[in-house]
Protein backbone atom coordinates (compact mmCIF):
# COMPACT_ATOMS: atom_id res chain seq x y z
CA UNK A 1 0.00 0.00 0.00
CA UNK A 2 2.99 2.28 0.44
CA UNK A 3 3.99 2.15 -3.24
CA UNK A 4 4.25 5.62 -4.69
CA UNK A 5 2.36 6.58 -7.81
CA UNK A 6 2.73 9.32 -10.37
CA UNK A 7 -0.59 10.94 -9.53
CA UNK A 8 -3.30 10.95 -6.89
CA UNK A 9 -6.58 12.51 -7.89
CA UNK A 10 -8.52 13.82 -4.88
CA UNK A 11 -12.20 14.48 -5.46
CA UNK A 12 -14.04 16.18 -2.56
CA UNK A 13 -17.78 15.65 -2.84
CA UNK A 14 -20.89 16.70 -1.04
CA UNK A 15 -24.27 15.71 -2.45
CA UNK A 16 -22.73 15.41 -5.90
CA UNK A 17 -24.36 12.09 -6.74
CA UNK A 18 -25.97 13.38 -9.92
CA UNK A 19 -22.74 14.56 -11.53
CA UNK A 20 -20.18 12.37 -9.79
CA UNK A 21 -20.53 9.34 -12.05
CA UNK A 22 -19.69 11.42 -15.13
CA UNK A 23 -16.85 13.19 -13.33
CA UNK A 24 -15.18 9.96 -12.19
CA UNK A 25 -15.76 8.28 -15.56
CA UNK A 26 -14.01 11.23 -17.21
CA UNK A 27 -11.05 10.89 -14.83
CA UNK A 28 -10.86 7.16 -15.54
CA UNK A 29 -10.82 7.97 -19.27
CA UNK A 30 -7.63 9.99 -18.80
CA UNK A 31 -4.74 8.91 -20.98
CA UNK A 32 -2.68 7.67 -18.03
CA UNK A 33 -1.81 4.02 -17.31
CA UNK A 34 -4.29 2.65 -14.79
CA UNK A 35 -1.57 1.57 -12.39
CA UNK A 36 0.12 5.01 -12.39
CA UNK A 37 -2.59 6.90 -10.57
CA UNK A 38 -5.30 6.55 -7.95
CA UNK A 39 -8.62 8.23 -7.32
CA UNK A 40 -9.46 9.23 -3.76
CA UNK A 41 -13.01 10.44 -3.18
CA UNK A 42 -13.63 12.24 0.10
CA UNK A 43 -17.29 12.43 0.99
CA UNK A 44 -18.09 15.42 3.17
CA UNK A 45 -21.18 14.00 4.89
CA UNK A 46 -23.38 13.69 1.82
CA UNK A 47 -27.04 12.92 2.25
CA UNK A 48 -27.37 11.38 -1.20
CA UNK A 49 -25.81 8.37 -2.90
CA UNK A 50 -22.42 10.01 -3.49
CA UNK A 51 -20.55 7.31 -1.58
CA UNK A 52 -21.96 4.42 -3.58
CA UNK A 53 -21.45 6.28 -6.84
CA UNK A 54 -17.87 7.01 -5.79
CA UNK A 55 -17.25 3.35 -4.95
CA UNK A 56 -18.01 2.36 -8.53
CA UNK A 57 -14.87 4.14 -9.77
CA UNK A 58 -12.60 5.17 -6.90
CA UNK A 59 -9.62 3.37 -5.39
CA UNK A 60 -10.25 4.86 -1.97
CA UNK A 61 -13.40 6.35 -0.50
CA UNK A 62 -13.14 8.43 2.66
CA UNK A 63 -16.36 8.89 4.58
CA UNK A 64 -16.35 11.88 6.88
CA UNK A 65 -18.97 11.82 9.60
CA UNK A 66 -20.59 14.38 11.85
CA UNK A 67 -21.09 17.74 10.23
CA UNK A 68 -19.76 18.94 6.91
CA UNK A 69 -16.55 20.92 7.25
CA UNK A 70 -16.06 22.13 3.71
CA UNK A 71 -13.96 21.26 0.68
CA UNK A 72 -10.68 22.54 2.14
CA UNK A 73 -10.99 20.06 5.01
CA UNK A 74 -12.05 17.26 2.65
CA UNK A 75 -9.17 17.93 0.26
CA UNK A 76 -6.69 17.83 3.11
CA UNK A 77 -7.98 14.45 4.28
CA UNK A 78 -7.60 13.15 0.73
CA UNK A 79 -4.12 14.63 0.34
CA UNK A 80 -3.00 12.96 3.57
CA UNK A 81 -3.83 9.56 2.06
CA UNK A 82 -2.40 10.35 -1.37
CA UNK A 83 0.49 8.20 -2.58
CA UNK A 84 1.18 10.16 -5.73
CA UNK A 85 4.14 12.46 -6.30
CA UNK A 86 1.61 14.89 -7.72
CA UNK A 87 -1.77 15.51 -6.12
CA UNK A 88 -4.57 16.72 -8.38
CA UNK A 89 -7.76 18.19 -6.96
CA UNK A 90 -10.87 17.84 -9.09
CA UNK A 91 -14.24 19.14 -7.91
CA UNK A 92 -17.21 16.80 -7.86
CA UNK A 93 -18.88 18.76 -10.65
CA UNK A 94 -15.95 19.27 -12.99
CA UNK A 95 -15.37 17.21 -16.13
CA UNK A 96 -11.77 16.77 -17.17
CA UNK A 97 -10.79 15.95 -20.72
CA UNK A 98 -8.80 12.81 -21.48
CA UNK A 99 -5.63 14.85 -21.92
CA UNK A 100 -6.07 17.30 -19.02
CA UNK A 101 -4.39 15.29 -16.27
CA UNK A 102 -1.64 13.79 -18.50
CA UNK A 103 -0.72 17.26 -19.76
CA UNK A 104 -0.61 18.59 -16.22
CA UNK A 105 1.73 15.75 -15.28
CA UNK A 106 3.84 16.38 -18.38
CA UNK A 107 4.10 20.10 -17.60
CA UNK A 108 5.18 19.45 -14.03
CA UNK A 109 7.66 16.89 -15.30
CA UNK A 110 9.17 19.19 -17.91
CA UNK A 111 9.23 22.38 -15.85
CA UNK A 112 10.90 22.00 -12.44
CA UNK A 113 10.22 25.71 -11.80
CA UNK A 114 6.47 25.05 -11.76
CA UNK A 115 4.96 23.35 -8.72
CA UNK A 116 1.25 23.84 -9.28
CA UNK A 117 -0.79 24.03 -12.44
CA UNK A 118 -4.51 24.43 -12.84
CA UNK A 119 -6.87 24.21 -15.77
CA UNK A 120 -8.97 27.06 -17.10
CA UNK A 121 -12.70 26.92 -17.41
CA UNK A 122 -14.29 25.89 -20.67
CA UNK A 123 -16.63 28.54 -22.08
CA UNK A 124 -19.33 25.89 -22.48
CA UNK A 125 -20.96 25.22 -19.11
CA UNK A 126 -22.52 21.88 -18.25
CA UNK A 127 -25.88 23.43 -17.38
CA UNK A 128 -27.92 25.02 -20.16
CA UNK A 129 -29.66 27.86 -18.28
CA UNK A 130 -28.91 31.54 -18.75
CA UNK A 131 -27.42 32.18 -15.30
CA UNK A 132 -24.99 29.25 -15.65
CA UNK A 133 -23.84 30.60 -19.01
CA UNK A 134 -23.44 34.07 -17.53
CA UNK A 135 -21.43 32.88 -14.51
CA UNK A 136 -19.25 30.58 -16.56
CA UNK A 137 -18.34 33.36 -18.97
CA UNK A 138 -17.72 35.77 -16.11
CA UNK A 139 -15.10 33.43 -14.64
CA UNK A 140 -13.69 32.75 -18.13
CA UNK A 141 -13.31 36.48 -18.70
CA UNK A 142 -11.20 36.91 -15.56
CA UNK A 143 -9.06 33.89 -16.37
CA UNK A 144 -8.52 34.97 -19.98
CA UNK A 145 -7.70 38.59 -19.13
CA UNK A 146 -5.68 38.29 -15.92
CA UNK A 147 -4.87 34.60 -15.47
CA UNK A 148 -1.31 34.41 -16.78
CA UNK A 149 1.63 34.04 -14.46
CA UNK A 150 -0.08 34.77 -11.15
CA UNK A 151 -0.96 32.90 -7.98
CA UNK A 152 -4.28 31.63 -9.26
CA UNK A 153 -4.71 28.00 -8.21
CA UNK A 154 -8.14 27.09 -9.54
CA UNK A 155 -10.45 25.08 -7.33
CA UNK A 156 -12.06 23.20 -10.22
CA UNK A 157 -9.04 21.24 -11.38
CA UNK A 158 -5.51 21.84 -10.19
CA UNK A 159 -2.43 19.69 -9.70
CA UNK A 160 0.35 20.40 -7.25
CA UNK A 161 3.51 18.59 -6.30
CA UNK A 162 2.93 16.69 -3.10
CA UNK A 163 6.11 18.03 -1.50
CA UNK A 164 5.13 21.64 -2.30
CA UNK A 165 1.62 21.11 -0.98
CA UNK A 166 2.79 19.75 2.36
CA UNK A 167 5.53 22.34 2.72
CA UNK A 168 2.92 25.04 2.16
CA UNK A 169 0.80 23.50 4.93
CA UNK A 170 -2.09 22.13 2.84
CA UNK A 171 -5.37 23.99 2.51
CA UNK A 172 -6.35 26.36 5.27
CA UNK A 173 -9.17 24.28 6.74
CA UNK A 174 -9.09 26.32 9.94
CA UNK A 175 -10.42 29.50 8.38
CA UNK A 176 -12.29 28.32 5.31
CA UNK A 177 -15.20 26.02 6.04
CA UNK A 178 -17.05 26.95 2.87
CA UNK A 179 -15.85 26.41 -0.65
CA UNK A 180 -14.98 29.84 -1.98
CA UNK A 181 -11.50 31.23 -1.87
CA UNK A 182 -9.39 28.56 -0.19
CA UNK A 183 -7.67 27.58 -3.46
CA UNK A 184 -6.74 31.20 -4.14
CA UNK A 185 -5.28 31.42 -0.66
CA UNK A 186 -3.26 28.23 -1.22
CA UNK A 187 -1.97 29.60 -4.52
CA UNK A 188 -0.91 32.78 -2.80
CA UNK A 189 0.95 30.84 -0.12
CA UNK A 190 2.67 28.67 -2.72
CA UNK A 191 3.87 31.76 -4.57
CA UNK A 192 4.92 33.31 -1.27
CA UNK A 193 7.07 30.25 -0.61
CA UNK A 194 8.83 30.73 -3.93
CA UNK A 195 6.85 28.07 -5.78
CA UNK A 196 5.70 28.45 -9.36
CA UNK A 197 1.94 28.50 -9.89
CA UNK A 198 0.44 28.52 -13.38
CA UNK A 199 -3.12 28.83 -14.62
CA UNK A 200 -2.93 27.23 -18.04
CA UNK A 201 -5.12 28.65 -20.77
CA UNK A 202 -4.56 25.54 -22.91
CA UNK A 203 -5.95 23.11 -20.39
CA UNK A 204 -9.71 23.29 -20.17
CA UNK A 205 -12.29 21.67 -17.91
CA UNK A 206 -16.07 21.83 -18.00
CA UNK A 207 -17.99 22.89 -14.91
CA UNK A 208 -21.32 21.11 -14.59
CA UNK A 209 -22.83 23.08 -11.76
CA UNK A 210 -26.29 24.48 -12.35
CA UNK A 211 -26.37 28.07 -11.15
CA UNK A 212 -29.48 29.96 -10.19
CA UNK A 213 -29.70 33.67 -9.47
CA UNK A 214 -29.86 32.92 -5.77
CA UNK A 215 -26.93 30.48 -5.68
CA UNK A 216 -24.83 32.82 -7.80
CA UNK A 217 -25.53 35.85 -5.58
CA UNK A 218 -24.80 33.66 -2.57
CA UNK A 219 -21.45 32.63 -4.05
CA UNK A 220 -20.55 36.23 -4.92
CA UNK A 221 -21.54 37.35 -1.44
CA UNK A 222 -19.39 34.73 0.31
CA UNK A 223 -16.43 35.16 -2.00
CA UNK A 224 -16.42 38.94 -1.66
CA UNK A 225 -16.90 38.92 2.08
CA UNK A 226 -14.19 36.30 2.71
CA UNK A 227 -11.84 38.16 0.44
CA UNK A 228 -12.33 41.43 2.26
CA UNK A 229 -12.42 39.94 5.73
CA UNK A 230 -9.84 37.15 5.69
CA UNK A 231 -7.50 37.60 2.76
CA UNK A 232 -7.16 41.32 2.19
CA UNK A 233 -8.51 42.88 -0.98
CA UNK A 234 -5.36 44.69 -2.09
CA UNK A 235 -3.06 41.75 -1.42
CA UNK A 236 -5.23 39.26 -3.32
CA UNK A 237 -5.90 41.76 -6.09
CA UNK A 238 -2.20 41.81 -6.93
CA UNK A 239 -1.70 38.09 -6.29
CA UNK A 240 -4.71 36.67 -8.13
CA UNK A 241 -6.36 39.41 -10.20
CA UNK A 242 -8.30 36.89 -12.27
CA UNK A 243 -10.74 36.07 -9.48
CA UNK A 244 -14.36 36.83 -10.21
CA UNK A 245 -14.63 39.35 -7.36
CA UNK A 246 -12.00 41.54 -9.00
CA UNK A 247 -13.71 41.24 -12.37
CA UNK A 248 -16.83 42.61 -10.73
CA UNK A 249 -15.29 45.27 -8.51
CA UNK A 250 -12.65 46.54 -10.92
CA UNK A 251 -15.27 48.00 -13.25
CA UNK A 252 -17.41 49.16 -10.37
CA UNK A 253 -14.87 51.61 -9.00
CA UNK A 254 -14.88 54.13 -11.92
CA UNK A 255 -18.65 53.75 -12.30
CA UNK A 256 -19.14 54.64 -8.64
CA UNK A 257 -16.81 57.61 -9.07
CA UNK A 258 -18.89 58.94 -11.96
CA UNK A 259 -22.13 58.46 -10.02
CA UNK A 260 -20.58 60.27 -7.05
CA UNK A 261 -19.57 63.22 -9.27
CA UNK A 262 -23.09 63.39 -10.68
CA UNK A 263 -24.55 63.42 -7.19
CA UNK A 264 -22.23 66.21 -6.11
CA UNK A 265 -22.97 68.36 -9.14
CA UNK A 266 -26.70 68.04 -8.39
CA UNK A 267 -26.24 70.52 -5.56
CA UNK A 268 -24.96 73.20 -7.92
CA UNK A 269 -27.36 72.79 -10.82
CA UNK A 270 -30.61 74.81 -10.87
CA UNK A 271 -32.78 71.93 -12.19
CA UNK A 272 -32.29 68.34 -11.13
CA UNK A 273 -32.72 66.56 -14.52
CA UNK A 274 -33.20 63.30 -12.63
CA UNK A 275 -33.92 61.15 -15.68
CA UNK A 276 -30.92 62.50 -17.50
CA UNK A 277 -28.63 61.84 -14.57
CA UNK A 278 -29.90 58.30 -14.14
CA UNK A 279 -29.27 57.78 -17.84
CA UNK A 280 -25.72 59.10 -17.49
CA UNK A 281 -25.11 56.85 -14.49
CA UNK A 282 -26.37 53.75 -16.36
CA UNK A 283 -24.27 54.68 -19.38
CA UNK A 284 -21.22 55.08 -17.11
CA UNK A 285 -21.76 51.65 -15.57
CA UNK A 286 -22.28 50.12 -19.00
CA UNK A 287 -19.13 51.76 -20.38
CA UNK A 288 -16.95 50.62 -17.51
CA UNK A 289 -18.29 47.11 -18.02
CA UNK A 290 -17.75 47.28 -21.76
CA UNK A 291 -14.86 44.75 -21.88
CA UNK A 292 -17.07 42.16 -20.16
CA UNK A 293 -20.01 42.84 -22.47
CA UNK A 294 -17.78 42.63 -25.53
CA UNK A 295 -16.44 39.30 -24.29
CA UNK A 296 -20.02 38.07 -23.86
CA UNK A 297 -21.00 39.33 -27.31
CA UNK A 298 -18.08 37.53 -28.91
CA UNK A 299 -18.84 34.31 -27.05
CA UNK A 300 -22.65 34.19 -27.18
CA UNK A 301 -23.82 37.02 -29.40
CA UNK A 302 -25.08 40.58 -28.96
CA UNK A 303 -28.45 39.50 -27.56
CA UNK A 304 -26.84 37.54 -24.73
CA UNK A 305 -24.53 40.45 -23.89
CA UNK A 306 -27.48 42.83 -23.78
CA UNK A 307 -29.58 40.49 -21.65
CA UNK A 308 -26.73 39.91 -19.21
CA UNK A 309 -26.06 43.63 -18.61
CA UNK A 310 -28.72 44.13 -15.87
CA UNK A 311 -27.74 40.84 -14.24
CA UNK A 312 -24.13 41.97 -14.22
CA UNK A 313 -25.00 45.23 -12.46
CA UNK A 314 -27.05 43.27 -9.91
CA UNK A 315 -24.14 40.91 -9.17
CA UNK A 316 -21.76 43.85 -8.95
CA UNK A 317 -24.02 45.47 -6.37
CA UNK A 318 -24.02 42.25 -4.31
CA UNK A 319 -20.25 42.09 -4.49
CA UNK A 320 -19.85 45.74 -3.47
CA UNK A 321 -22.13 45.37 -0.44
CA UNK A 322 -20.37 42.14 0.59
CA UNK A 323 -16.93 43.73 0.30
CA UNK A 324 -18.09 46.57 2.56
CA UNK A 325 -19.60 44.06 4.99
CA UNK A 326 -16.34 42.10 5.00
CA UNK A 327 -14.28 45.19 5.79
CA UNK A 328 -16.63 46.17 8.61
CA UNK A 329 -16.64 42.66 10.09
CA UNK A 330 -12.86 42.46 9.90
CA UNK A 331 -12.49 45.73 11.79
CA UNK A 332 -15.19 44.85 14.31
CA UNK A 333 -14.52 41.15 14.96
CA UNK A 334 -11.26 40.27 13.22
CA UNK A 335 -10.60 37.25 11.04
CA UNK A 336 -12.87 34.23 10.79
CA UNK A 337 -12.39 31.55 13.41
CA UNK A 338 -14.09 28.21 13.99
CA UNK A 339 -16.63 27.82 16.79
CA UNK A 340 -15.52 27.63 20.43
CA UNK A 341 -15.84 23.82 20.64
CA UNK A 342 -13.55 23.33 17.63
CA UNK A 343 -11.03 25.77 19.08
CA UNK A 344 -11.20 23.93 22.37
CA UNK A 345 -10.61 20.51 20.80
CA UNK A 346 -7.73 21.92 18.79
CA UNK A 347 -6.22 23.57 21.86
CA UNK A 348 -6.31 20.34 23.82
CA UNK A 349 -5.01 18.34 20.87
CA UNK A 350 -7.75 15.76 21.10
CA UNK A 351 -7.19 12.85 18.77
CA UNK A 352 -10.42 11.79 17.12
CA UNK A 353 -11.85 10.76 13.79
CA UNK A 354 -12.74 12.73 11.76
CA UNK A 355 -9.93 14.94 13.04
CA UNK A 356 -10.63 18.34 14.47
CA UNK A 357 -10.02 21.15 11.99
CA UNK A 358 -6.31 21.87 12.08
CA UNK A 359 -4.55 25.18 12.33
CA UNK A 360 -1.95 25.76 9.69
Amino acid sequence: MSRTLALSVVVPVRDSGSSLDGVLTAIRASEIPADAYEIIVVDDVSSDESVTVAARHADTVVRLRGRALGPAYARNRGAELARGDVVAFVEGDVLVRPDTLPRMLALLGERPDIDAVSASRDERPGAPNFVSHYWNLLVCFGEARHGGGRAHFAAGCGAVRRSALFEAGLYDEWRFSTGCVESLELGQRLVGAGRGVVLSSDLKVTHLRHWTLRSMCNEVWHRSMLLARSLGYQRMSSAAPSDVVFTLSRALTPALAIVAILTLTAAFLPRPYVVGKIGIAIAAIFLTNLPVHRFYARARGFGFALASAPLHVCVQAVSAVALCAGWILRDAFGDLLPDAATQAYSEVGLETWPPVRRRR
Binding site: M1, V51, T52, A55, R56, H57, A58, D59, T60, V61, V62, R63, L64, R65, L81, A340, A341, Q343, A344, Y345, E347, V348, L350, E351, T352, W353, P354
Partner: protein, 170 residues
Protein backbone atom coordinates in the same frame (compact mmCIF):
# COMPACT_ATOMS: atom_id res chain seq x y z
CA UNK B 1 0.03 36.32 29.64
CA UNK B 2 -2.67 35.81 32.21
CA UNK B 3 -5.39 36.24 29.62
CA UNK B 4 -3.76 33.56 27.42
CA UNK B 5 -3.77 31.12 30.32
CA UNK B 6 -7.34 32.03 31.09
CA UNK B 7 -8.44 31.45 27.51
CA UNK B 8 -6.61 28.12 27.37
CA UNK B 9 -8.24 27.03 30.63
CA UNK B 10 -11.63 28.08 29.31
CA UNK B 11 -11.13 26.15 26.06
CA UNK B 12 -9.98 23.05 27.95
CA UNK B 13 -13.14 23.28 29.99
CA UNK B 14 -15.29 23.38 26.88
CA UNK B 15 -13.41 20.43 25.39
CA UNK B 16 -13.92 18.32 28.51
CA UNK B 17 -17.58 19.21 28.63
CA UNK B 18 -18.07 18.32 24.98
CA UNK B 19 -16.10 15.14 25.41
CA UNK B 20 -18.51 14.00 28.12
CA UNK B 21 -21.47 14.88 25.92
CA UNK B 22 -19.96 12.97 23.00
CA UNK B 23 -19.63 9.83 25.12
CA UNK B 24 -15.85 9.93 25.42
CA UNK B 25 -14.58 10.31 21.87
CA UNK B 26 -11.19 8.92 22.78
CA UNK B 27 -12.47 5.44 23.48
CA UNK B 28 -12.62 2.82 20.78
CA UNK B 29 -16.11 1.69 19.85
CA UNK B 30 -15.19 -1.70 18.47
CA UNK B 31 -17.78 -4.24 19.47
CA UNK B 32 -17.20 -7.55 21.16
CA UNK B 33 -16.49 -10.69 19.20
CA UNK B 34 -19.88 -12.14 20.21
CA UNK B 35 -21.73 -9.40 18.41
CA UNK B 36 -19.62 -9.72 15.28
CA UNK B 37 -20.21 -13.45 15.07
CA UNK B 38 -23.91 -13.04 14.48
CA UNK B 39 -24.84 -14.14 11.02
CA UNK B 40 -26.71 -11.52 9.03
CA UNK B 41 -28.69 -11.58 5.84
CA UNK B 42 -28.12 -9.07 3.09
CA UNK B 43 -31.51 -7.52 2.43
CA UNK B 44 -30.18 -4.96 -0.03
CA UNK B 45 -29.68 -7.60 -2.69
CA UNK B 46 -31.80 -10.72 -2.20
CA UNK B 47 -29.76 -12.61 -4.74
CA UNK B 48 -26.51 -12.02 -2.93
CA UNK B 49 -25.40 -14.61 -0.45
CA UNK B 50 -23.10 -13.77 2.42
CA UNK B 51 -20.62 -16.17 3.84
CA UNK B 52 -18.71 -15.49 7.03
CA UNK B 53 -19.55 -14.41 10.48
CA UNK B 54 -18.86 -10.68 10.68
CA UNK B 55 -21.84 -8.41 10.38
CA UNK B 56 -19.62 -5.41 10.19
CA UNK B 57 -22.11 -2.88 8.93
CA UNK B 58 -24.25 -3.27 12.02
CA UNK B 59 -21.46 -2.38 14.41
CA UNK B 60 -21.92 0.87 16.26
CA UNK B 61 -20.25 3.84 14.61
CA UNK B 62 -19.69 6.34 17.41
CA UNK B 63 -16.81 8.78 17.72
CA UNK B 64 -13.40 7.12 17.75
CA UNK B 65 -9.77 8.03 17.93
CA UNK B 66 -8.54 6.59 14.66
CA UNK B 67 -10.35 6.01 11.40
CA UNK B 68 -11.85 2.64 10.87
CA UNK B 69 -10.58 1.01 7.70
CA UNK B 70 -12.20 -1.37 5.28
CA UNK B 71 -10.71 -3.20 2.35
CA UNK B 72 -13.03 -4.29 -0.44
CA UNK B 73 -11.73 -6.85 -2.88
CA UNK B 74 -13.78 -6.92 -6.05
CA UNK B 75 -13.67 -10.07 -8.18
CA UNK B 76 -16.03 -10.03 -11.16
CA UNK B 77 -16.38 -12.96 -13.57
CA UNK B 78 -13.13 -14.12 -15.14
CA UNK B 79 -11.09 -12.05 -12.70
CA UNK B 80 -8.74 -13.16 -10.03
CA UNK B 81 -6.97 -11.59 -7.07
CA UNK B 82 -3.85 -13.06 -5.60
CA UNK B 83 -4.06 -13.64 -1.83
CA UNK B 84 -0.62 -12.03 -1.60
CA UNK B 85 -1.96 -8.84 -3.16
CA UNK B 86 -4.78 -8.76 -0.63
CA UNK B 87 -2.35 -9.35 2.23
CA UNK B 88 -0.06 -6.60 0.92
CA UNK B 89 -2.96 -4.20 0.92
CA UNK B 90 -3.44 -4.70 4.63
CA UNK B 91 -1.36 -2.70 7.10
CA UNK B 92 1.72 -4.52 8.36
CA UNK B 93 1.34 -3.32 11.93
CA UNK B 94 -0.86 -4.42 14.76
CA UNK B 95 -3.75 -2.68 13.04
CA UNK B 96 -4.10 -5.77 10.89
CA UNK B 97 -7.14 -6.99 12.75
CA UNK B 98 -8.76 -3.54 12.67
CA UNK B 99 -9.28 -3.67 8.91
CA UNK B 100 -12.61 -5.11 7.80
CA UNK B 101 -11.98 -7.15 4.69
CA UNK B 102 -14.88 -7.73 2.32
CA UNK B 103 -14.55 -9.87 -0.77
CA UNK B 104 -17.28 -9.17 -3.29
CA UNK B 105 -17.36 -11.66 -6.10
CA UNK B 106 -19.60 -12.63 -8.97
CA UNK B 107 -20.15 -16.34 -9.10
CA UNK B 108 -17.57 -18.53 -7.43
CA UNK B 109 -14.02 -17.32 -8.04
CA UNK B 110 -11.31 -19.96 -8.26
CA UNK B 111 -9.07 -18.72 -5.49
CA UNK B 112 -11.64 -17.59 -2.94
CA UNK B 113 -10.59 -20.31 -0.53
CA UNK B 114 -6.98 -19.21 -0.77
CA UNK B 115 -7.98 -15.64 0.10
CA UNK B 116 -10.14 -16.67 3.03
CA UNK B 117 -7.32 -18.89 4.28
CA UNK B 118 -4.77 -16.09 3.99
CA UNK B 119 -6.89 -13.32 5.49
CA UNK B 120 -8.74 -14.12 8.65
CA UNK B 121 -12.23 -12.79 9.36
CA UNK B 122 -12.98 -12.01 5.79
CA UNK B 123 -16.58 -11.25 4.86
CA UNK B 124 -17.61 -12.63 1.49
CA UNK B 125 -20.41 -11.26 -0.63
CA UNK B 126 -21.45 -13.69 -3.34
CA UNK B 127 -23.40 -12.06 -6.13
CA UNK B 128 -24.87 -13.87 -9.14
CA UNK B 129 -22.51 -14.64 -11.99
CA UNK B 130 -22.40 -11.81 -14.48
CA UNK B 131 -22.64 -9.02 -11.93
CA UNK B 132 -20.39 -6.21 -13.09
CA UNK B 133 -17.42 -4.93 -11.14
CA UNK B 134 -19.12 -1.58 -10.56
CA UNK B 135 -22.21 -3.26 -9.12
CA UNK B 136 -20.04 -5.42 -6.88
CA UNK B 137 -18.26 -2.33 -5.60
CA UNK B 138 -21.57 -0.62 -4.90
CA UNK B 139 -22.91 -3.70 -3.14
CA UNK B 140 -19.79 -4.04 -1.03
CA UNK B 141 -19.49 -0.43 0.09
CA UNK B 142 -23.01 -0.58 1.46
CA UNK B 143 -21.75 -3.30 3.81
CA UNK B 144 -18.39 -1.72 4.58
CA UNK B 145 -18.32 0.06 7.95
CA UNK B 146 -14.99 1.81 7.43
CA UNK B 147 -14.30 5.52 7.38
CA UNK B 148 -11.55 4.87 4.88
CA UNK B 149 -12.53 2.26 2.33
CA UNK B 150 -9.93 0.94 -0.08
CA UNK B 151 -11.23 -0.83 -3.15
CA UNK B 152 -9.05 -3.40 -4.83
CA UNK B 153 -10.06 -4.79 -8.20
CA UNK B 154 -9.13 -8.19 -9.51
CA UNK B 155 -7.10 -8.73 -12.64
CA UNK B 156 -8.51 -10.39 -15.71
CA UNK B 157 -7.72 -14.07 -15.94
CA UNK B 158 -5.69 -14.54 -19.13
CA UNK B 159 -7.81 -16.47 -21.60
CA UNK B 160 -6.06 -19.34 -23.39
CA UNK B 161 -5.01 -18.49 -26.92
CA UNK B 162 -5.98 -20.58 -29.92
CA UNK B 163 -2.41 -21.88 -30.23
CA UNK B 164 -2.46 -22.89 -26.59
CA UNK B 165 -5.71 -24.81 -27.10
CA UNK B 166 -4.27 -26.54 -30.17
CA UNK B 167 -1.13 -27.53 -28.29
CA UNK B 168 -3.18 -28.81 -25.38
CA UNK B 169 -5.33 -30.95 -27.69
CA UNK B 170 -2.17 -32.50 -29.17
Amino acid sequence: MASTHGRRFFLRGIAMYRAVLDDTPGQSSRPTMESTRQVATDFTNPEAQRVGDANAADRPTGPRRTPRKSLIVVIPDNHVVSPEVVAESLPKTDDHELVDVIVACAGQPANLTAITRRVREVQVLLAPAGTSGEDLRELAIRRAPGDIVTLLSGAVVPTPTREFEMLRSV
